[in-house]
Symmetry: C2
Subunit: 440 residues, 2 copies
């Protein structure tokens, strides 16, 4: 089957990330999608830079309309940003019968109703997973994963810049402007950070999630928007003392007031109890908490921005369109993610070959030199020790626990070392061995 | 368009939940799926009990083969559990050209390869979101949300029973058998808990995720499985002192050893740094952490068991099949989750009508009676106070901060009260007001 041909509008950070990931993982993606997906045309203002990035593998043009009008292009990726030009391009692509993938939350929050109606009319798909919470597949979860439910509320940390600033303010006791300057220095905030810090970006994303959760049109103009620029360090401190963290939260919820149902749609700094998982989402990470009647609370966490996390969602949309736009059953979503004729027979490792860290508890007689024996055995096996906890024996006790955390080693090594440890006459009974994963 | 007709095999906890949620949310589900979804036939061992539950709305039979052979049934839901009978039923349903939805992880971990091959051959879908992590849409995330990525590892708390037991052991210092008895008393563990506590259930789920993540066949027989029954309270305590929590983790990961690629597939008690989000997943909750090359780390959290959470996934699969099995573009996944002609025009509330809690910081002159004035104003507005923090003024200071957390109230009420507070001559400047959400 011929590859799907994709035209890319704009090759900034996310565009470059999309191009790179699609190229790097092309084999893996083809095995999943059932056919190749290739960017064959790129529109960029700086065509020289673009040509350098794509390395002569695809046509580079300066006129984005040349891409959306090109008869060979099946899917258009819009990554230009802003409102008017993208709107024109997307509407033209739809009119030309092309599917569209966009990461442009501003565009959809303002012109989504018009765009989706046109796409519906033409029978094409406009996919936008990348528009909300970067790499987290939250649109898919809300739109397909939770379809059984009456969704009650969606609450999200959906702007990484502000979450980074708030984390720094709390962690280091900084005031807002110092933390903002730091975020700008690290590339987490733009030179003009208004859209992020005033909550506009979060409100764009929330507006889209609200429409999907409740079956209402997108209506950004009704959103209540407050940012974090007026937040004082002293309030973050007091909140902490009371058991709360302050987050910029986007909240949308159904509520009935005096018998009338309505939707809350609001972005503002919010105190959240520290014990909630979402209160512990720090730095530039995003998370969305959904409350729904059947499933209860579910939470989705990951990187909300950046070249490759956003590219991850852009490409997931390309695969979705490739799978779904091709109506034959064999190109629907495959049972095990990869097309049936694309399974591999990589072997499962036996446990003896696994590389991990270990917690060891050794019950020993309280005698001089025990620790030296243990550490020598581990050193001989080239297993290095990360931490030791020796519990002071009770007065007069003749036995005690020694706990050791090791760095990574092959399981057969640790088992051999444990056998030697258990053979020491100062060691009582068996060594307790539990595996440790840093999950970093 | 005529409703999709569904046959239900088994009406235990999850079957009953599925029937109830499908009925309760039928309107919402129809608006999403584009057509009605109705359970028209139920097979149950106890037909009397089943007839009572479904209330005469559908045919109840004792022979499950009567359902899978019935010409009117489009989709069969298999919720019987076990291996042999479900396998026969599912294979027969496929042979009859019916789509299948199942929550049976044991069946798929053992016979998935055969079942998926038969389904592929027949051009029908076998959907199984409910088989892994209950209500969390993790199959969808792995299979569709992360298709751009080379997935590196999946690590999950995917058995609620054992996570509940481990949480209780840590929280209350209980030993394993006491915590197990407690879990059984609360219905979190079955009378014969072997499958849960020995890690077999987690290994079934992990086997399925591993196949989807890496494009390999399901191969449960290769999984390494250790449960928590030998875990001692003392190790949980020592781990805590070293900054770790012990969780029963299912881990699957690609690793290259001496140039050879292989897959790790293992379930065992694991120390995890307490600062990781997944280490803080407590009680019967589940969470899955995925590491992938483009998106980085993403985490999915929710209820891993129970009637309605599992039903949430069963029904999501019904909607998926309804949407995707109907090839016309208008029944593909709608842009805004609901079919375009099914949007509602529920209004967005103005902020003055919102009901929430508040953090108030009032900067006051250090005079007798200030607190009495503040609390009187709030009481008059029927706003009750949840907590007060009064910072001791520095020696000789004439001003201080009073912080109050309120219970829920309408925003117009708090704003009116704030106006009165700001009018007090003991109050300096404006009151700082930040909203508070308990997110419980």
């Amino acid at each position: 089957m011929k590859p799907i041909k994709v035209g890319l509008l704009g090759i900034g950070t996310v565009g470059e990330g999309t191009f790179n990931v699609l190229k790097r993982n092309q084999e893996e993606i083809r095995r999943r999608a059932g056919r190749g997906i290739e960017i064959t045309m790129v529109a960029a203002r700086n065509t020289e830079r673009a040509a350098r990035l794509v390395g002569g593998e695809c046509e580079v043009v300066s006129d984005p309309f040349a891409v959306v009008d090109h008869p060979d292009i099946d899917i258009v990726i819009e990554l230009i940003g802003g409102y008017e030009l993208p709107r024109e391009l997307v509407m033209r692509a739809i009119a030309n019968g092309k599917h569209v993938v966009t990461a442009n939350k501003a565009l959809l929050a303002l012109h989504g109703n018009e765009i989706f109606a046109a796409a519906q009319e033409k029978g094409v798909m406009v996919a936008f997973e990348a528009a909300v919470a970067g790499g987290i597949p939250i649109i898919k979860a809300l739109r397909e994963g939770l379809t059984a439910n009456r969704i009650e509320s969606v609450a999200g940390i959906i702007n990484g810049t502000t979450n980074f600033i708030l984390s720094e303010m709390r962690d280091k006791g900084l005031d807002f402007s110092t933390a903002l300057a730091q975020a700008q220095g690290l590339g987490y905030a733009e030179a003009d950070p208004t859209f992020d810090i005033e909550g506009v970006d979060a409100a764009h994303k929330l507006t889209i999630m609200s429409a999907i959760a409740f079956g209402i049109p997108v209506q950004f103009d009704k959103a209540h928007i407050e940012g974090i620029s007026k937040l004082e360090a002293v309030d973050i401190r007091y909140a902490e003392q009371l058991g709360y963290r302050i987050k910029l939260l986007g909240i949308t919820r159904r509520t009935v007031i005096d018998g009338v149902e309505g939707i809350e749609l609001r972005v503002h700094p919010t105190l959240i109890p520290t014990k909630r998982l979402i209160a512990n989402v720090e730095g530039a990470m995003n998370a969305v908490l959904v409350q729904a009647d059947a499933v209860g609370a579910t939470l989705y966490y990951g990187k909300g921005a950046g070249a490759e996390p956003t590219a991850s969602s852009v490409i997931a949309d390309l695969v979705d369109i490739t799978r779904l736009a091709t109506a034959d059953p064999e190109y629907r979503v495959p049972h095990l993610a990869f097309q049936p004729n694309q399974m591999t027979d990589v072997a499962i490792w036996p446990m003896s070959e696994i590389n991990t860290s270990y917690y060891l508890r050794v019950y020993v007689k309280n005698r001089l030199g025990v620790m030296a024996d243990l550490t020598r055995i581990l050193a001989d096996a080239r297993i290095s020790i990360d931490a030791v906890l020796q519990k002071e024996p009770a007065e007069g006790a003749t036995r005690l626990d020694i706990i050791m955390l090791t760095h990574q080693t092959r399981e057969k090594n640790i088992d051999a070392a444990i056998a030697k440890i258990e053979a020491l006459d100062t060691v009582v009974g068996n060594v307790t061995r539990i595996r440790l994963e840093s999950l970093s």
